[in-house]
Symmetry: C2
Subunit: 221 residues, 2 copies
Amino acid sequence: MVRQLRAEATRAAALRAAADLFLDVGHANATLSQVSAQSGVTKGALYFHFASKEELARAIVDEGHERVSTACAGLVDSRSPALESVIGISYSVLELAASDPLVRVMYRLQMEIDGSETARGSVFCTWGNIFEHLFDRAIEHGDVADHLDSGNASLLVCEMLAGVLMVSEAQSALESAPSRMEKVWNTVLPSLVPPNKLGYFREFAARSLSSFVPSEEFTNA
Amino acid sequence: MVRQLRAEATRAAALRAAADLFLDVGHANATLSQVSAQSGVTKGALYFHFASKEELARAIVDEGHERVSTACAGLVDSRSPALESVIGISYSVLELAASDPLVRVMYRLQMEIDGSETARGSVFCTWGNIFEHLFDRAIEHGDVADHLDSGNASLLVCEMLAGVLMVSEAQSALESAPSRMEKVWNTVLPSLVPPNKLGYFREFAARSLSSFVPSEEFTNA
């Protein structure tokens, strides 16, 4: 039991060091020797957990998926209104990318990993499944404009969220990604919700942003 | 002169083969030996042009930037209306990603390259500069809603375009990316243009899509 806990701690230390290193020098330039040096995990222990740099990258992607799913799961509560959950998840996903290096590097790595043979579903598809389920409920609540179906609405939100993430990352401005997302909500809500609910959802998107941005930054925005 | 032309042809063959290979097995898994075998370029000639796999990747990113800029340049004509140019560029960028393997792999690689020391501006920033210039003119024409400035409008279009590109790529559905973009225009135009111009721009976005999608696919859509 103690040995298992120690192995888990070693694995976690290696993943964390590798994420920092990949962000710093890029996955292509990093070596397992550097991961060993930065994590304090011996090369022998490192190879016990990960046969190659590729396998280490895949473990980061899997762990990142897991963390995003966990963060979203807390917001998908069948008792809370569905479109409110979609908005909350969008902020949560962006805040997690800004605050957790492993999640941030996962987004960079997944395109590389998906290009290889052992591809698994992209994180964008994971979001899509969650959003589609929520939009089905939002339609039942009358919170979605008549001309939209849940497939198209969820695809649209995935595209917006992926776009804000990628452009913020390219500009090294991930910390302001939730605020950017609020502007995007402001822009797309008129086409997404029935006219009589626009006021409410714009207000909700603006107010709920404050839960995801440090209060100081929010009041200065 | 002949020698120079031959060197350029060799370089182009290596870039093309590398792009195909990176798409196929992923940049991390590819080797310069495989590029040599697939391109018919000897390893000696390959190393003459590119000192490392990293340098080859960087050359693909630079060449991809160049192709995107060239494709956009033809659409940024000071005589044509600016917001129409923004819409045309959005389709053109997506069509190019779908049809040109080098451009497609550029989008995957640039995140990896940007993480390294010799980072250059992201292609998203290149789009941003072009769009901001065009939105300045569109505002003069009265084609942009009062509350928007060119910085926010261009950032929004960058985010939407990046999002459609990334989600289509993740779903292996790049060929339908221009059609997806038309749906996104339909959604955001109500917040982007003055109410009296909405009808015209929705019609323009729908009709100009046909220039970027093979006619058969368009009529079946």
